[in-house]
Symmetry: C2
Subunit: 456 residues, 2 copies
């Protein structure tokens, strides 16, 4: 038993209660009580007492779009349009890197996430060639929660029921092996690929098979959707329907589906997402940086679609920092809707917590500070020059806080960041390796970034 004492708890429970002078009782990996410190100190007098006087506690942030394997190439996607970005950087990197590089990249990104208060992330398109054993171990060592969307596509490029079943079964074997590993920190999803541009092929049998299998396994499906003008137009030009219609026709929508980006969605498509209970993850920083388009976020939210937040990655953000996403989501909507009331800090925090939990089908055990939920908690030291005074803690969290305010992080009751120190692995070693391997890969791929200033 652990009792975190004398905090302000921004619970994100159904009533969105903010409790001052609160304590949070943790038993094993779960929260067992949230109440005033007076009450809980008496009730749990024999528990280990963790004094966190004056800190503000929020649920662990959930980054539902994080290409954690890209951190070794930080900054090398600057100034790139998405098609050369994929063809000249992402794809060659996937081919050239060895499995240890992917583990290293994920490890670095996960460390950054923990330092930014992210306790759970969704990595779409996890490469089948990756070393899942080592990846799983890194997740377990760091103690972060990961949803890995294992990339799946018919190897032959052909499509019939038999090929679809063979492809999906092969993936399922791998997924079953790792799903739930590391004491349930690791969840395996299907990372789908749908047509986005000339040369892409579609696989109707395959999509249907994935959908059925995901339902049978009670896991999710994640894929990039209707992100850019070009990919939306490609669907319209080739299939005569909008991307959401195409996805619906291909069994690729639903409450266990997480769509990435959706910047180009039309009102019709927003309705379809709402009707099918499909989730959407918004990555405002990467969308802006790469100029992929501007999601009509407020319209999507108003239609009742569950929208979460994500960072995208080190290649087009170039951070894994959910504080920045929360703030940027508000800034972008206010700017384009020409209203300072378009987006509230409250909605942004919901997107990073409860809505993120719902997006990954975990609203029952993640996303808020309540009894029987997982003890995924971020202790923020807001008594700092950038976040003081506190008149409205939610405003300070969304608009003023940054990674420097993240003091201590718990995932499933384990202290994974302790007063600013990552507890599960040695940071310095990872940093050193990341620089060495990052440089080596860049040299191999002949990537040099966009700097034009003389370096000597």
């Amino acid at each position: 038993m652990l009792l975190i004492n004398d905090v302000t708890a921004v619970t994100m429970d159904a009533q969105r209660r903010i409790l001052s002078n609160a304590s949070i009782a943790i038993d094993g990996n779960q929260i067992v009580a949230v109440d005033t410190s007076d009450v809980l100190k008496t009730r749990f007098a024999s528990a280990e007492q963790f004094q966190a006087d004056g800190m503000v506690v929020i649920p662990g942030l959930i980054d539902t779009h994080a290409h954690a394997d890209q951190s070794l190439l930080r900054g090398l996607g600057d100034l790139m349009h998405w098609i050369p970005f994929l063809d000249d950087v992402v794809e060659p990197y996937l081919v050239k890197r060895d499995p240890a590089d992917a583990v290293l990249a994920n490890t670095l990104a996960m460390m950054e996430m923990l330092r930014c208060g992210t306790t759970c992330f969704v990595s779409p398109n996890v490469d089948p060639r990756d070393d899942y054993q080592s990846l799983s171990e890194a997740i377990g060592n760091l103690g972060i929660r990961a949803v890995l969307g294992r990339f799946i596509i018919p190897a032959s490029g052909k499509d019939n029921l038999e090929i679809a079943k063979t492809t999906v079964n092969a993936a399922v074997n791998v997924m079953n092996k790792w799903h739930g590993s590391q004491n349930n920190l690791l969840t395996m999803w299907f990372g789908l690929d749908v047509p986005r541009r000339p040369g892409d092929t579609d696989h109707p049998y395959f999509y249907k098979t994935v959908s059925e299998q995901a339902e049978a396994m009670d896991v999710g499906i994640v894929y990039h959707f209707c992100s850019e003008i070009e990919d939306a137009n490609y669907i319209v030009d080739n299939y005569g329907v909008r991307p959401a219609e195409w996805s619906k026709d291909n069994y690729a929508l639903g409450s266990n589906v997480l769509l990435i980006n959706g910047c180009q969605v039309t009102p019709l498509e927003i309705e379809i997402l709402a009707e099918t209970g499909t989730n959407l993850v918004h990555s405002p920083v990467a969308n802006m940086k790469m100029a992929t388009g501007i999601l009509p976020l407020v319209d999507v939210l108003n239609a009742g679609v569950n929208v979460s937040l994500g960072t995208d990655g080190a290649l087009n953000n170039n951070s894994y920092d959910m504080f920045s996403e929360m703030k940027s989501a508000c800034l972008l909507q206010n700017a384009i809707r020409q209203s300072p009331t378009a987006m509230t800090a409250q909605t942004a925090l919901e997107m990073a917590t409860v809505r993120g939990a719902k997006a990954i089908g975990r609203e029952d055990d993640l996303g808020s500070i309540e009894p029987n939920k997982m003890a995924d908690l971020v202790l923020l030291d807001l008594k700092q020059v950038n976040t003081y005074p506190i008149h409205d803690p939610v405003s300070n969290i969304v608009f003023s806080a940054n990674a420097r305010n993240v003091h201590t992080v718990f995932v499933a009751g384990r202290k994974v960041l302790d007063d600013g120190c990552i507890t599960g692995m040695d940071e310095a070693m990872v940093l050193q390796s990341a620089q060495e391997r990052g440089e080596k890969i860049c040299a191999e791929l002949k990537l040099s970034g966009s700097n034009t200033w003389p370096v000597s």
Copy 2:
């Protein structure tokens, strides 16, 4: 003599050289040499050696729009349109606060700035009722560089040559007293007010007098300009000219003038700013948050106008963090111009350094790391999980770094932030006072922020 050794120096000199394995020699308040560490360690063997192995050094960031007196009200401008924002928050605060509150607010904001690598800021509209003695002392104690635009307006509301001269002379007496104080850390400017909305009056004699006096004193003029649709339209409706034309007619443009915002500028006005050599400060975060409009920044830069960056303040940002401004400037332009190449990290860093120096008429001694310039330096520890690996230091500085990477800061050769610790004042005391006074002022002003969630 101090020698900062074994760093990467992003010099921002005329060639924009980036020097690896570099040292920076400081004598008193000035940089005296920048060269390879090998060379300088021999040349300055008897100097105090400061080992900063692997750090990246940039010129001190210059925040050219920072209402440093607003920090006590952090977050209380959320969701507000600019007119009620001014009428219901800013103006009552100016009336209600006592001079000690303004000093406290400035102190808190200056501490935040130092922690964010800001070594110089422009505070427009510094209230004539403020306690300049204490403000000057706080600036000196913290060791930050401040340009205070003393707010000036004819007290009578009337306008003729005599009133104008009386008003300006009274201001000049105060300005002369503090201009150059604290070993030249403090610079006094004119903080002008021009008509923005119904009820505002104009004072042509007064503007001309200020302009002449500023030129005579070799100081600058700063004012809010053409920020919102409403204030631009007000000028058009009342004077039949665009705001830049109005400003030109009123002697309120020129190379010693710093215009704030300018979101609504037309192509004609951009030309006028370029022709007159007028400077413009862009505050992308606050502009987006308050939905005041989107500056066509790239067009303004392409026309040859000097544009710098600013944070605006704790009421509409809600931070004093120039890293966030650099990144947001890029994100916003890329998004609205629908191109990932619209704004580069390089341009953003220029706006925060050399262009900022030029905006305040200090291009000769601030803004870059060169011999004979002031030793205003920021040592960034980029060997952190959010900024590693480093392939392109400028990209990592602009897109990946945050306040957590700011390790040590020098202003005029003095170490004002030492390994994350502010050296000049006790932070804890300031924080405590800020909360107490902030709460008291809010109670007096009946300000409660925009939180709608139940707090208990």
